[in-house]
Every structure is written in C-alpha cells, then in structure tokens.
C-alpha cells in the first residue's frame, strides 16, 4: 500500500493540495495520503477552498468506495478487461485522504507576534536589522496575512510556530501517523509544497523537516532516531502569477528578484531535501490576480502551474525505490510551446492511461451537471442531477438505468421492499436516511462543481490568457445518453436475498455514479448489451473530430459547461460556491 505525507504551506501550498486532491480523485494518487496544511492565516481563502475540497472528497469517497467495490479500474479500457482484475487496480477516488489543518493564528502560538515589528523588534539590535531590511509597511504587515513576499525572517517565526503546533491537535495527529508509517515501512515519502514568494510556504521550506523530525522524536520519546527511511522532496512554485498593482507589501515588480534572493538563501542554508522540483513560468503576467495580502480575499483562481506541481508530487511518489535520479528535475515543453495532455509530465507508472483517469473523472462531473432543454421529450439531454430533480417517482420507476442499478439493492431495505413499484424511487431519493440520494447530493454537487471550476480555471484554452494551453473545451450540443444506455444494461451487485444488510457508508447516489463510471468504460469499449439494443453504443472519451491523433494529443471536450454547473448549484441552493473560484479573478 502506497502512502504519501504531504505538507503544504500558505495559500499556494493549499492550491497544490487542491490540485493533488483532484488527481487522487482521478485515480492517480497513492492508496493513502496525509495532508498537513500549515497556515497562520486562518481565514485564507485558498486554504479554506482547499480544505473544503478535501472534505467534500472524503465524504464522497467513503460512499463511492463502498458502492464501486467491484467496479473495474479506470484503465480497464486499455487492457480490455471489464472485471476487477485490471492490471493496476487503480480506480476513481482510489486514495483515502486524511486532513490535518494547522491554522492557529501565529500570535496565539507566539505571544506578541502580530507582525514582524512586534515579534522581533523589541530587541534593539534586531530592530535596527529590521529597519535596514524592511520599510515601515512591511514591518507592520500582520503575520496572519499570508502574502508578505518576505520569507527570510519568516523562517524564525515558522520554526517556533511548528515546534508548538506539531505537538497538539491536528499537528500531533499528523506526527503520530508519520511516526507509525515510518516504523512500518522501509521508505516513507514526505513532500513539502508551497510557493517561495509568499510568506508561509517560503518560510517553511528551510525549517519544516527539522521541525517534523524533532516532533517525531518527541512523540516516540527518544533522543536520537534514524530517519534514513524518510525520503523528502520539495515542490517549490516560483512566481507564476502577477498582481495587477502594488499594494501594501505586495510589489509585483520585485517578485522575481525576491524569488531569486530566496533561492539563494536556500542554497546557502543547505537543502534538507533529496530532490527538489521547481515550477515556474516564463511569463507570470499571463496569470493576473488582484493584489491582496491575505485572509478571505486571498482566494486566487487556480492556475496551470499548480497542476504541474501536483504532477511533481506524483512523480516523487512513484519513483522506484532505490533508483537514483537527478536531484533537480526539469519539465520542459520544448519547441512546440503548446501544452497537450500527452505533453504533461506523467510519471512512468501512470503512462499511458493516467490521462484517461482524468478524462473519465471530468466526464463524470460533466454528466452530473449537464442540462438540456425542455424536460420533454428530450429528457436524455440532461445529466444525472437534472434527471433526478425533474423526473417524478413514477417516471423514475420507468427508467431502466435507475431501476437496474438501484432496485434490487434498495429492496433489501424494508421501507422500499414494502412500497409500490411506482413509489420506490421517491423513497430511494429521500426516504432511506443516509442511503438516500438527497443525503449525498450536496457533497457530490460541491465536489464535482469544485472539480469543474478548478479545471476550467487552470486548463481552459483562452486566447487572452492561455495561448499555450489546449486541454479542455465544452460542447453543450452533445449529451451523455450513451452512459444512460449502458447503465440500463448493467447493474451493481445486490445483496443476496433479503437478509439483514449492512448499509453503512452505502448510498444510492454513489451507486448511480459508480454505475455511470462503469457504463462509461463499457461504452468506450463498445460493449454490446445482452438482450437489449443500444442505440448509442460507443462513447468517445476524447474529441470525435480529433480522434485521428492518440488520446493524449487531443482536447477533452465536455458536454456540460460551467454555466450548467452554476445553474444546477443554484437549483440546489449552493450558488455561493462559484465565488471561491472567481472572487479574485480578472
């Protein structure tokens, strides 16, 4: 079983964790990942968004795993198998995530440390140093505001901060897991990710390894401990976006110079990492944001460079043990300057099908949100959420994709078993407590909406902003009737007989989604249905028009748009979710 311990700092680190979470949902992650979020900026918008993404993932993942226990792995399409014996054994939502948010305000951990001046300036000698290096605005910037762009002295605060927070609450829980994993395993992979041009992340890189190891020693109550089985890597984001103007301590004209100084500082301080991934941009101005120093307003849209950072984490994760590689790893697009799915730095262990996992996850999300025209007669232009919302109980009882997947399973529930056939869908939707569709629907909508908003912001080709990205597009004239057809010709395992059944973690909506994924895989393979005709047997995962090339070279074209996401969220009373992804967008 593979495990990754990921420590992310600050807003950019949180965005890397967000991207990593979505890659885990695509089936690309380890069996288990422990995510430690370090940010003294409690109200940081990016932190909040990432934490909520992980929480929604966890809620959905528990039920998905239960429902899809025998669903084929996503790469079954490649090896032709539709059974549980697919070569890699990976599946969507295949990673169990654990989250440990360490977000206490710095001044509550280090008394008096509300800003640099207050925390260090009482000492007259230090005050002189501060005056030499920082102007009044910079010294007055509150430490709880993340974007300070001055990491050097931040290391001092961060070291003290970690020393305290890793011994209590979520920090201590993370240390306990890390300590246990290192005792069990010959190799424990620990990654640290963040930006080097902000406050928290940049301050964390030089000191976190020492802080973690000290905390593990303290946890095990030993003076000395051999950490030879710990493998550390860092994923550092160089300036990759540019604020539109200078405000307070945020000065876009200095970001590259500051980053250069920071890297120089790291090199003189010595690197505690066996490998370092540096992700930068040749044109940070391509990604523009409003200048904010932190708190809730620092909720920047997702950018493509964070996807690359998440892929760097996977590269580290899947590196064969004992294999020697260059400590500094470079991803270079080459002369084409166009980013395609195939050009991304997929780890060797995930080639050639990693890209299919992402595609399937995106289509599943799009299938959930897809909206059509008037409900009749074009019902199958709608996606799952729309169909469940608008078809009444009698109509759903006639939908074979619904009954085939759910009826036998639900019959084990006494309330459903004793109901009339036309009343059963209504019960399955709302009347069987935690197993009801409605119970999981909010988390499901939230997670998949987050996925699509994130993908839209970081991967959509937009001539004004992203002239080198060619990954994602929308075609709302298409639909997902293929998936519905194949759902009608498969079914998930039902409990044997009507003996007492353990419904814990089970959920009707999760079963529908798992069946939809299975249907997508079967449809892509052009599976015929025994006994029934399929009018639309083959589903193209990638663009029909561009199938002349290999899948990784073409765009992923989703049938549902972000407009559909917005409308569906509005129907469900979740319309404020999109603000997390557009608040700071220009």
């Amino acid at each position: 079983m593979s495990k990754l311990f990921l420590i992310v700092g600050g807003g950019a680190g949180a965005k890397i964790a967000e991207a990593f979470t979505h890659l885990c949902a695509a089936g690309l992650g380890p069996s288990e990942a422990h995510l430690l979020f370090v940010d003294g900026d409690t109200g940081n918008g990016n932190l909040g968004r990432a934490v909520n993404t992980v929480k929604d993932y966890i809620r959905l993942q528990h039920s998905w795993v239960r429902a899809a226990g025998h669903i084929p792995a996503f790469d079954a399409a490649a090896n032709g198998s539709a059974g549980p014996t697919a070569s890699t054994g990976r599946s969507l939502f295949g990673t169990t995530l654990f989250i440990y948010p360490v977000t206490d305000k710095i001044e509550t951990i280090i008394p008096g440390a509300s800003n640099l001046r207050d925390s260090l300036g009482q000492d007259h000698e230090f005050a002189d140093v501060l005056d030499l290096l920082y102007d009044a605005d910079e010294q007055a910037t509150r430490c709880e505001d993340g974007f300070r762009a001055r990491p050097n002295l931040g290391c001092l605060l961060m070291s003290r901060y970690l020393r305290v927070t890793l011994t209590v609450g979520p920090g201590a829980a993370f240390i306990e897991q890390l300590s246990g994993a290192s005792a069990d395993s010959a190799h424990t992979r620990v990654a640290v990710a963040g930006s080097i041009f902000g406050g928290t992340g940049a301050s964390m890189f030089p000191v976190v390894r020492n802080a973690i190891e000290n905390a593990v020693r303290k946890h095990r109550n030993v003076e000395k401990l051999d950490f030879g089985n710990f493998h550390w890597c860092s994923v550092m984001l160089l300036p990759y976006f540019r604020p539109t103007e200078r405000r307070d301590s945020v000065d876009p004209s200095r970001s590259l110079l500051d980053a250069s100084s920071t890297l120089q500082y790291y090199s003189t301080a010595g690197s505690p990492y066996s490998c370092v991934y540096l992700i930068g941009s040749d044109d940070p101005g391509r990604n523009r944001v409003r200048p904010v120093t932190g708190s809730r307003d620092q909720c920047n849209p997702s950018f493509f460079e964070e996807v690359i950072a998440a892929l760097a984490l996977l590269d580290f994760l899947y590196e064969p043990e004992g294999r020697r590689r260059e400590p500094v790893r470079i991803f270079d697009l080459g002369s084409t300057r166009t980013v395609t799915w195939a050009a991304l730095p997929w780890p060797a262990a995930l080639r050639p099908n990693g890209v299919d996992g992402v595609a399937q996850l995106m289509h599943l999300a799009s299938f959930l949100f897809k909206r059509g025209g008037a409900i009749r007669p074009q019902a199958y232009e709608w996606g799952l959420a729309g169909l469940l919302r608008q078809l009444d109980s009698r109509a759903l009882s006639l939908e074979s994709w619904f009954t085939k997947v759910l009826e036998k399973w639900a019959e084990a529930h006494p309330a459903v078993r004793n109901a009339k056939a036309s009343d059963r869908p209504a019960l399955i939707a709302t009347g069987i407590a935690e197993q009801s569709i409605d119970d999981l629907m909010p988390a499901c909508l939230r997670y998949f909406a987050r996925l699509l908003w994130w993908a839209y912001a970081s991967a959509l080709q937009d001539g004004d902003r992203r002239d080198s990205l060619d990954l994602l597009a929308f075609d709302t004239s298409g639909d997902y009737v293929h998936i519905l057809e194949h759902m009608a010709s498969v079914g998930l395992g039902a409990p044997n007989g009507t003996a007492a059944v353990d419904f814990s973690d089970d959920n009707a909506l999760a079963r529908l989604l798992a069946a939809a994924h299975l249907a997508m895989v079967r449809s892509r393979q052009g599976h015929a249905s025994a006994g029934s005709q399929l009018l639309n047997p083959t589903f193209q995962l990638w663009s029909d028009a561009q199938m002349g090339g290999s899948p990784g070279t073409v765009r992923l074209i989703l049938r549902g748009s972000t407009g559909h996401v917005r409308q569906t969220l509005s129907d469900a009373g979740l319309s404020d979710l999109s603000d997390d992804y557009t608040r700071n967008q220009i």
Partner: protein
C-alpha cells in the same frame, strides 16, 4: 377457430406495423425521450388506434344492419372463414339481417393486442425503455 385465426392474423400484422412505427420513432424523434414519455405516447397511440378501430367496426355494424349488400357480404366471408378453419358463423339476428359480433370482436381484439405487443417488443428491444410493459400501454 376461424375467428381465432383471423384475430391472430390481424394481430400479427398490427404488431409488425406498430413495432416498425415505434422502432422508427425511438431511433429518431424519441431518441432522447424519457421512458415515461415513450410509455405515455405509446399508450396514447394504442388507445387512439383502439378507439378508431372500434368506431370503424361500429359503423360497419350499422351498415350491416341497414344494407343487404353489406350483410350478405359479411355472411359470405364468415362462411368462407369457418368452412376453411372450422366452426360456424356467430351472428346475432336482428330482423331480417344481423350483427356479426364475433367478427368484430375478433378484429378488435386482434388490433388491440397486436398494437400492445408491437409497442412492447419495440421498447423492450431497447435498453433504455426495457421497463415499459403492457400495463403501461392500456
């Protein structure tokens, strides 16, 4: 026996016609329709067909009552039918003529059951509409 065979024959022809009609619609204008829409539309079609067939048979029955030509033609047809297949004409005498109730019943039942069977077979053939059963079509 003859009436049964007649009913069966008419039913078979009706079933084929409805199978073809519904299959064509499922492949074209109904290709994205919900199963309930298919069931409701098919039920309306079956009922309309049954009503039209019933009206035509009522008109023919009335003609049989008032017209010697029609009455005798129907009598001759029924004798041919029963002579070939067995049985005897079943007619209710009314004055000097009659009503060929068995003939009308056989035709009506054949059309109705044939329509239902044709629709059911066409919807059953398609995975998305496999839940549409005869009870949804009456």
């Amino acid at each position: 026996m003859g009436y049964i065979l007649l009913s069966f024959g008419i039913g078979l022809l009706t079933a084929v016609a409805f199978y073809w009609l519904i299959s064509t619609r499922i492949s074209s204008s109904w290709s994205r329709a919900s199963a309930s829409h298919v069931a409701d539309s098919s039920r309306r079609l079956v009922r309309s067909t049954a009503i039209v067939a019933a009206l035509i048979l009522v008109i023919v029955a009335l003609l049989e009552l008032v017209s010697d030509t029609v009455f005798l033609a129907l009598e001759d047809f029924q004798y041919s039918l029963t002579d070939s297949a067995g049985g005897s004409p079943a007619t209710q005498t009314v004055g000097t003529r009659g009503i060929s109730w068995a003939l009308y019943l056989a035709i009506f039942v054949g059309i109705l059951l044939g329509a239902i069977a044709g629709v059911f077979a066409a919807s059953r053939k398609t995975a998305l509409y496999a839940n549409v059963t005869p009870r949804h079509l009456i």
